[in-house]
Amino acid sequence: MSALRFADIAGWRAAAADQDPIAAARTMAEAAQPALNALITPAVVTGPHTATAGGALAGIPYAHKDLFCTAGLRTTAGSRMLDGFVPPYDATVSARLDQAGAVCIGKANMDEFAMGSSNENSAFGAVRNPWDLQRVPGGSSGGSAALVAAGIVPFATGSDTGGSVRQPAAFCGVTGFKPSYGRISRYGMIAFASSLDQAGVIARHARDCAEVLNCLAGFDPRDATSVERPAEDFVAACDRGVRGLRIGIARELYSAGIRSEIADCTRAALAELERAGALLVDIELPRLQLSVPAYYVIAPAEASSNLARYDGVRYGHRAEAARDLNDLYARSRSEGFGTEVKRRILVGTFVLSAGYYDAYYLRAQQVRRLIAEDFARAFAGVDVIAGPTTPDVAFRIGEKADDPLAMYAADINTVAVNLAGLPAISVPCGFVDGLPVGLQLIGPAWGEASLFAAAHGYQQISDWHFRTPQFGAGVPS
């Protein structure tokens, strides 16, 4: 079976000509489950899958973040609230992958309702990082990143509200892509913070992310925030090369909180890009520091409202023997939601309350506009902006569990991208303490093509993305 552990979609596709990669991926996922806990629900896959069927991703196995509704397959959002919820419909992302011929082997573990950066906030237990089983894989798309890193699937879906694709990709040494807001339909992707949420892709290679994006991108009449744009070939964009590409380096992405070894890793990567013909340009993002506080007002505000539907009335967890309506609400939600979700609902409810709305929510929205303006100004002179994805490498499970503020502060380099609705990608760029480091590349709105040119260009001159964790050896072959 180990012969099937290919690094990229092309490898899986070649193998699929005479073998069953779906069965192989499922077997590996099952074997890895006790160690990684990366899946919440394995998919029931019927019949042998070979590449004979049509579709751009025909016969390619993938893991699907448990945030995307899958008709007939339990979808929990990592929450006890939705333990046992089987959607009657497919998310647009699920349907498009299905149309492309890709085969979901299971629903990937995640922080509850995508709230978290460690995957410790899952009602179904923490996911472990294949590079070090004592460490977190990052979050919230932790299961997706761990499965790709362990070579079990060539790609996995994720969602990115403040870094939930890029940060776990960085922690697990794989590539994580988040598109411009409105590029991929949110229909059927369980909402955390609607104005920030975007579906994303985790794969080993940027090129594979582009290939999956080709299948997922496009207007959806069922999502009023999805945007109608001319079709683009993102795979073709990968081959544009980096010669003459202007890469902006912002001092603010190298703030005091960024560990120096991490900064060095990314600087080395940028130097290599420069040698390959890219131009490095100093830019400023003066209000980046405000992005974490703004994000932690806006995201909880939207979440407090988005999660109001989980009331125990129509579906999901419902408290037993409620005394009255308020008791039903209070107990269903107290029992169904975990600590971090409750914390954010409370914060969000507070910042939207009469008398506080102007000081918090409205002000955060103003800051958001300023941050978007900073990026717009910067992109007048550069094609992409680069910096570390995270301040540090993957931390130990439990290390920050009691310090939500430290956890939030570590989002400093990722959340601004969501506030401004920009596309971004994290690519592996080295190791610190034997753990992967991610280089984040940020593009202007709808500038995915430049982003893929830069990311793929870098992966042509580096091999960090080929490194696989020792864990893989533990998978029975």
Partner: protein, 477 residues
């Protein structure tokens, strides 16, 4: 009511827009189906579902705005009104808050005493209806019917400019007439298509506004009048007893004819309004408004004026003929055939036709005699083929389905006798038959003349032209 007090009343009227599907989903809005059979995944607020605005609802709101001379916003914003209730599946209602689609404008209304008022509007905004809680269908449990959830509403908010229940009802009736006239609402109050919340306060004339109470959800003109009257009385009584009015939301109990407190200001909910991140701002341009303007019918006030000034109709007829668009259109269709006979047409529409429709309890749209058929009948009065009296018999025959006016007139031999010779013969026969009466008339008994005419009409079976007969008999005698 004591004359030292002045009541101040403002109304919020919920106008259900007559779209086939709901405001944010494709489910049907048809009334009266089995519970929960008209509920889409969006209406049930399944995880991951998203609202998409219904063009038809927006177009109707624009038409309303233009019809009341309001400002239709180039940019309006859907907002979430957050509160928990079992018939509110998302835990929030999508409405418009700070930036409604329609601002300002006014509605003219005529009171029963003929006085005319012009009621200024504050705004009109789009929103979705909630579902319905059912408290009497199950033992020890309540049910929820979501058929109504997501039904499009236009909430029309008046300024607090009315001073009596009679004014409020006159305004509400004028608004009811207008929305039905525009065809944007079916106006069915039993089915809840047109419902009203009334804000009532009292003050000393010239003093600042008093504390208001809001009477919720009244769905008949009569109840609105009674509820407001009761509430004015109640507040005056309280103030005269030295009490203060406590701001509260009240319900009208029709059986007891009183209002009672639903919740006081202390229990008022904080709805935590904020812009709905699932719905981009609603942008309208000049062409959207132009298209709506082109769809607008001639408005009732303009048509009423035209009926009076150009057709010479009395005010009463003009009022009656502009109460409902269908009646007005019926009348106008008749004028196409009989342009010079407006008064005759008006008399017949408001007379014979109205009573026939009323007797059979059918709407004018379903009339057994259509406008052109009725006009053809009246043409026979106009050209003196038949008398008005005979025409009533012909109409009854037409109503019974016996054919066109001409066919019935011919089949029954009802053509008026206008031949002098035939009438002269009848007069000679009369003179021979009633010598005494003739003598009395000749002696100056004017009263006997009507008797003689009556006898002549009898002899000609009503077919004689009465004016001609009159003139001939007088000259003969």
């Amino acid at each position: 009511m004591s004359s030292e007090w002045e009541a101040v009343i403002g109304l919020e009227v919920h106008v259900q827009l007559s779209t086939r599907s709901k405001i944010f989903s494709g489910a049907t809005t048809a009334y009266g189906a089995e519970p929960n059979t008209q509920v889409s995944f969006v209406d049930a607020a399944l995880p991951g579902t998203l609202p998409v605005p219904n063009r038809g609802a927006i177009e109707r709101a624009i038409e309303f705005g233009l019809a009341v001379g309001a400002t239709v916003a180039e940019r309006s914003v859907f907002a979430r009104k957050n509160y928990f209730y079992p018939d509110l599946p998302k835990g929030y209602q999508i409405s418009q808050y700070e930036l409604p689609i329609v601002s300002g404008g006014s509605v003219k209304a005529r009171l029963e005493d003929g006085r005319e008022i012009e009621v200024a509007l504050t705004r009109a905004h789009l929103e979705e209806d909630a579902g319905k809680s059912v408290h009497d269908a199950f033992h020890a449990a309540s049910g929820v019917d979501l058929n109504r959830a997501g039904t499009p509403l236009l909430e029309v908010v008046s300024e607090p400019v009315m001073h009596s229940a009679a004014e409020a009802v006159a305004y509400m009736k004028a608004l009811h007439r207008l929305v039905r006239w525009l065809g944007i609402c079916d106006g069915n109050m039993q089915e809840g298509s047109f419902r009203c919340d009334a804000n009532v306060s009292v003050r000393r004339p010239g003093a600042p506004l008093g504390t208001r109470n809001e009477i919720k959800n009244v769905n008949s003109f009569r109840f609105v009048e009674k509820a407001i009257d009761y509430e004015i009385e109640r507040q005056i009584r309280a103030l005269e007893n030295g009490e203060t009015i406590v701001q509260a939301t009240r319900l009208y109990d029709a059986a007891a004819n009183r209002t009672r407190t639903m919740r006081s200001k202390e229990d008022a909910l904080d709805y935590r309004y904020f812009p709905d991140p699932d719905l981009p701002p609603l942008l309208l341009d000049a062409s959207d408004l132009e298209r709506a303007r082109a769809r607008l019918p001639e408005l009732p006030d303009a048509r009423r004026r035209r009926f009076i000034e150009q057709l010479g109709l009395p005010e009463y007829d003009a009022d009656k003929l502009t109460e409902e668009r269908a009646w007005s259109d019926y009348f106008e269709s008749m004028l196409q055939v009989l342009p010079a006979q407006a008064k005759l047409c008006a008399n017949w529409v408001l007379g014979e036709l109205a009573s026939a429709l009323n007797a059979d309890q059918i709407a004018i749209e379903d009339s057994r005699v259509d406008a052109s058929a009725l006009a053809a009948l009246l043409a026979r009065i106009a050209d003196q083929t038949i008398s008005g009296k005979i025409a009533k018999d012909v109409f009854a025959a037409m109503w019974a389905g016996e054919g066109t006016a001409d066919a019935i007139i011919d089949a029954r031999g009802l053509r008026q006798i206008t031949d002098d010779g035939a009438l002269a013969g009848a007069i000679e026969a009369l003179i021979a038959q009633f010598p005494e009466q003739i003598a009395k008339y000749r002696a100056g008994d004017e009263k006997i003349f009507q008797f003689l005419i009556g006898q002549l009409m009898k002899a000609t079976r009503g077919k004689a032209n009465p004016a001609q007969l009159n003139q001939m008999l007088r000259s003969r005698l």
